[in-house]
Symmetry: C2
Subunit: 249 residues, 2 copies
């Protein structure tokens, strides 16, 4: 996969993209990431890329030309990208299904906004997908681009070993994960739950599933409502129901 | 504000924390960020920090000791932090209100998870807040920590100029932003909306508000349902209603 990132701060990507999964994906030749400085496409002598907003108001707006010209350059040198993604607060909320969808593309372009905003003509005529990573205000589109690239890279076949693909499945059933424990068995008086030490695989499996269901119910009921539950899940929830009944009767 | 970040990959933070707003906040002395390598608190000779999960299963789990000892060190050297935040998929979804809440603290600690998960006793006994930045799977807690720190730093008094605090207000009313435009007035045949060139401030204000309302209705109706609308907003929506009525009658 080719990933072109249009940004005013290419130096921000050094740490995150030279570590961990993204580094491995690049070293394996599975992902090629190019950081393109939007400022290189400014035509004026001060290399500015922003200007005051039409209609007045505070702050500066990123001008359309440098971005249109950067996209011309990408078209000329690498052909048409599968998706051109603008990271912005008004975008569609990013989720795991979108990550899986993007992981199937061969060429992605990310546009990182800054300042008060980007001239709307960029969103209208260059961009295929406006994406937000969550309902909070960030300084620019750089961190969101890193987040999306990380989530997408993990899903490209060959990037992770088989181990981690199981994590994937556990998330994709739409529930929160069960709690994990490792050595020591007792630490500062805090013990690992007995069942995990029992060696009884079926009991452990059911305990973990019950934990997943109850945690999701406790913290994110809206996820549970959307999840596709198995017959076993329904049975576990029915037994919880009975327990609660006996508690309040 | 003091921010201590417990991570296995301190080098990942170099780019993002040396740029933009976070850099400015650090240079102004408003934020002190310390990257603490969890591995420095491993007691075994190979400096490992993970181990196999009790109860079996794929992947490795981050052991409790290095994290408990790192927190002991923080307590001894800087006192009790206001919040100890664990970045994990099962956490509470991060949003702008949480960012504002965290910005009022004097000392935050972030714990970045990795591998299959972190021993649950850390979440139970060390952590005050479990936070997720969105419903997608990332390689570790580092990018989420950067996102939260960025969102929080912007809100610390003195970090941003007055200019950007207005952006803040515009987001905190719970609606998506109106579109921005700058020079040139026409670019590749695409024009700036006439009203923005009119110089009529009141018309521009109403047009922008209407854009915000309709964009939120189009892309994120759940935000609109939660937003506190003004009488003017209701009037604008009523006029939209009339327009739609006349279209379908």
């Amino acid at each position: 996969m080719i990933v072109d990132i249009l940004t005013l701060f290419p130096e921000m990507f050094a740490g995150p993209f030279d570590a961990s999964i993204i580094k491995r994906a690049r070293e394996k030749g599975l992902v090629e990431i190019n950081l393109i400085n939007i400022r290189d496409f400014s035509r004026n002598k001060h290399r500015t890329v922003d200007d005051t907003p039409y209609g007045g108001g505070a702050g500066m707006v990123m001008a359309p030309e440098p971005l249109f010209e950067a996209m011309d350059w990408i078209h000329a040198h690498r052909g048409r990208p599968g998706r051109v993604i603008l990271l912005c607060p008004a975008g569609r909320p990013f989720n795991q299904e979108m990550a899986a969808e993007l992981a199937r593309e061969r060429h992605l372009v990310f546009i990182c906004g800054h300042y008060e905003g980007i001239d709307e003509r960029v969103a209208e005529h260059l961009v295929t997908d406006e994406i937000t990573i969550g309902d909070y205000v960030l300084t620019g589109g750089e961190l969101p681009a890193m987040v999306v690239v990380d989530a997408v890279c993990r899903l490209i076949p060959g990037v992770l070993g088989e181990r981690a693909s199981t994590v994937e499945e556990s998330f994709s059933d739409g529930l929160l994960e069960y709690p994990h424990y490792t050595r020591p068995r007792e630490y500062r008086g805090y013990c690992v739950p007995e069942v995990l030490l029992s060696g009884h695989h079926e009991k452990i499996r059911l305990w973990r599933r019950r934990q997943s269901l109850l945690r999701t119910l406790a913290s994110r009921p809206e996820l549970l409502a959307r999840a596709s539950l198995t017959d076993e899940d329904r049975k576990i929830l029915a037994s919880v129901l009975e327990e609660i009944k006996s508690l309040i009767s």
